[in-house]
Subunit: 544 residues, 2 copies
């Protein structure tokens, strides 16, 4: 066959040539949204590549970004990889030291930064020896100590956009993303042109989120986190309208954008979905979300009550997916099967509550502690091992990477759960989040989901705390939406779980700490409340 | 990234593990259809690989098939490639000498043949020195002179199905198909595991035929022709129900199968669509086709009247695609865009009459005779050049192959037409089917489509015949469904075309000769009617 490599420029080609009149909309935060066509976009993508070349960026060099979901960030999404350089999206929600570590470890030569990130980068600049130029994603450069510093728009204005992107091997690195690093230093996951193209196709399939031309996609998930789940690439390939929520987005902005641009599909974290629900319930101001068909919530399993609320109140389907930064990120998606057409609503939600079916080309194994295959019977609990063409097989310049792979190339996810006979993956826990009490496993995730299904509970996170007799016991940290007591929650859980699963202790907290990508940060909870004395002090404090 | 190769066994994995209870149905021709699940299917696929290994087939060896669309043929579709051998599907509708040439040129070691093909193979066997074994796709072997000869079912019964298919490079050849060869000897197109996997993904995308789990697909297009357009592979990947029409299928069998199995999608040649329409119009017997949503017709453009008839009478959408054996086969597909949601019906059919949008990863160029790019303005006429990862770049053991490619890897299709600003490809002709009359081009395809839109015309083919003054003039060969005169057809065409486009001569024939894959065989028409005396004789004959 023809050895035509899989290159990201082919996605851009289709956006420009086949869907040149379709639009990209970017919230500026100044009241009026910015908008232009894929044809206009593609010219600017080429101008960016020319400008970066003029700044000395060469194939293989890393170009870092500290930026929100904006049209300029999106220009870098194609401009940097298509010239053969590597786009390094840095999570701007991390701590200073982590950001500096990541930029230095990645060896970024140029940093593209949003104007509001200038104070942060000024603090870090003395510790970023490899960075040779700063580019502010704005019309002009505000007063700053950064040097040398350029205005993005001035750089682009100096170019003509006449450029043919080169061919190179499809295994060439295209982008890089550091995992949030729940233990140890963050690890850099490298994507290739091949992996991005294949993952993009997967997002456009029937049975996946199915990005298509008619859809208007709001990309809530940050572009600095796992490629915004690949939505920006898929939107280009299929010519979907792409709506980017801009700087410092809040839930009300998402609802405004959905209302204003008749968004049909939105993609973001479960916690965002919870906040959107709360705003819609309040209905002041009123948002018209009747255009929204699908709200894909990921990062963790959306509680059944949340899925049902969106479906019953607004006719919005809430599917979920399971993935990880190392997997580009998507592995499974909760497509229903035709056999579910005529089952009871409750059974449908049983399926929707699972993480879904493996996407095409994603092979999943369920293995026991000895590495033996377990049956897909919905009962046997094991760790998931993955193999797919869009799975990273090592971390950038990091000796720890390959340790996650076995000899046959299976990636050990650290995620634990079951697979049912229909092929639905159902996560019960990260293996380190399982609670082992008296020699038996307790799933923190199942307890959390059940707690969050209680109408008075906004968020709940369950962690293991040390126990003299049982070694570990579950502790439930709960954020309430309405008054509720420990006794009421105990009664609620007792309807669903064996007695020894029920937490003895409930802590009512103002908020669950989140990681930089919006997941419950159980590490923080364990550190803060692992000690019984600390819990007592917290309760005494709270009752005053 | 992980160097996980793209292998066809990954498609099979998903069919077996994720959609193991979904069904494959195969018409036996004995009244009762055969049916089993993908889980049962996958075991037999492995048994076939074991049986072929026992017969001496090694990786890289060619295994030929002379078979209809049946479940056993489908088992070979995966069994042969997944063991590393090459499936060579031979078109059983060709002439004896062509079939012998193809089998010998391909160097097939084993032939899998349907029982009704035994007389053919017995005739050819003395001229097939490389074939080492014949396998009859049946429970037992009928009386035959073939030797050594085996029963397929007996071979499988001797195996246990316990086999792990090996890994190998994704560029490994998986299948082979000879083009029908309108000029010179047939040419063997080689597919790879990579090209099959990528083409399969393309068929499952939104904006393509979109194979999905809920669908029930009737694969009318022969499995010996361009992989039955890839439908069998896509059905496995997505777990769609696959209905195979079995031996000696006729249009009435397709309608019976649609009725009996509530088929939602059918895929076949335009000529089949015409015959199905005629049967449905007759309504005796009555077929219930209310389940059918989509009838994808390819091979040539479906006439507007046919598309409208299916839509208006049965609510069936008739999309088309454009492809070729070298392209696996699909290149474009007529997806509508959201901008067509609110346009008039006529405009929708203008779009549906085009060959469609380039699929993801398919790059198309329109070039003039000097090789320069032409604009996509819907007016400039040029030849299409193609580039895609599922485009064959050479023919098997054939020095003519690479001549179709230029230095940048573009394949010169020989097809001629325009591309509109929305990216829709609209073929006007094979370059050799254009008629050059008085220095001006006349499109035979446009004349044919217009003629076939006339209610009295069943089929029409227009070819160039030599002319003293204009060098070439169009000759229309017409099959009628109702009485009609040359004068009426001239008046009909005059509504749409300039006077010099209108054929002076109409020949009323009983049938248009077809190639082995059901396309109008213009070569035959030109040979039979190119001479004015021959036309006179034909008319005199016909009027008696």
């Amino acid at each position: 066959m023809m050895d035509r490599p899989l290159l990201m420029k082919q996605l851009l080609w289709r956006a420009e040539r086949v869907f040149g009149d379709k639009r990209i909309i970017s919230r500026t935060g100044d009241g009026e949204d910015f908008g232009y066509t894929y044809a206009e976009y593609a010219v600017r993508v080429r101008k960016l590549a020319q400008a970066l070349t003029a700044l000395g960026v060469r194939p293989g060099d890393r170009v870092g970004t500290l930026a929100w979901n904006t049209h300029r960030h999106y220009e870098a999404y194609f401009g940097v990889p298509c010239m053969g350089a590597v786009l390094h999206t840095v999570n701007l929600r991390l701590f200073d030291e982590q950001i500096a570590y990541i930029i230095n470890h990645g060896g970024d030569r140029v940093l593209l930064i949003d104007p509001d990130q200038i104070p942060l980068v000024e603090r870090l600049a003395p510790d970023l020896p490899a960075v040779q130029a700063y580019v502010v994603l704005a019309d002009e450069v505000p007063e700053t100590t950064l040097s040398p510093v350029h205005s993005y728009e001035e750089l682009l204005a100096a170019q003509d956009g006449k450029l043919e992107f080169p061919d190179f091997p499809e295994t060439t690195a295209s982008a890089m993303c550091y995992t949030s690093g729940t233990t140890g230093d963050p690890k850099g996951v490298l994507y290739s042109h091949r992996s991005v193209v294949l993952h993009t196709l997967a997002l456009c399939l029937h049975g996946s989120i199915g990005v298509r031309e008619e859809a208007i996609f709001l990309a809530i998930s940050p572009m600095f986190h796992a490629n915004s789940w690949g939505i920006p690439f898929a939107a280009a390939l299929q010519g979907a309208t792409l709506v980017l929520p801009g700087p410092h987005p809040e839930p009300k902005h998402y609802l405004e954008l959905i209302d204003r641009h008749e968004v049909t599909h939105a993609v973001g974290a479960v916690t965002i979905g919870v906040m959107m629900r709360d705003l819609l319930e309040r209905d002041d101001p009123h948002y018209d979300v009747s255009s929204l068909e699908v709200l894909w919530l990921g990062g963790q399993a959306p509680p059944r009550g949340l899925m049902k609320w969106f479906a019953d109140t607004h006719g919005i389907v809430v599917p979920q997916g399971w993935g990880m930064t190392e997997a580009s990120p998507l592995v499974t998606f909760t497509a229903l099967k035709s056999k579910h057409d005529h089952v009871a609503e409750d059974e449908v939600y049983d399926v929707r509550g699972k993480q879904g079916l493996p996407l095409p080309l994603c092979e999943v194994r369920l293995v026991d502690e000895g590495g033996e295959d377990l049956p897909w019977d919905g009962k046997a609990v094991g760790e998931y091992h993955l193999r797919s063409p869009w799975m990273a097989n090592a971390y950038y310049d990091d000796p720890r990477g390959p340790a996650s792979y076995d000899a046959q190339g299976w990636f050990k996810t650290g995620d634990v759960g079951v697979i049912d006979p229909d092929g639905y993956v159902q996560l019960t826990d990260r293996s380190k989040d399982l609670i082992k009490s008296g020699g038996e496993w307790i799933s923190s995730v199942e307890l959390e989901n059940s707690l969050m299904a209680h109408p008075a509970v906004a968020e709940a996170s369950v962690v293991a705390v040390p126990h003299d007799k049982w070694l570990e016991r579950p502790l439930a940290c709960v954020v309430t939406r309405a008054p509720v007591t420990s006794e009421e929650l105990t009664a609620h859980l007792s309807e669903h779980f064996a007695r020894w699963w029920i937490p003895e202790e409930f802590l009512f907290v103002d908020a669950i700490p989140k990681t930089g990508v919006g997941k419950f940060d159980k590490k923080v909870l364990r550190a803060r409340f692992g000690d019984a004395d600390a819990r007592r002090r917290y309760r005494a404090e709270a009752s005053r």
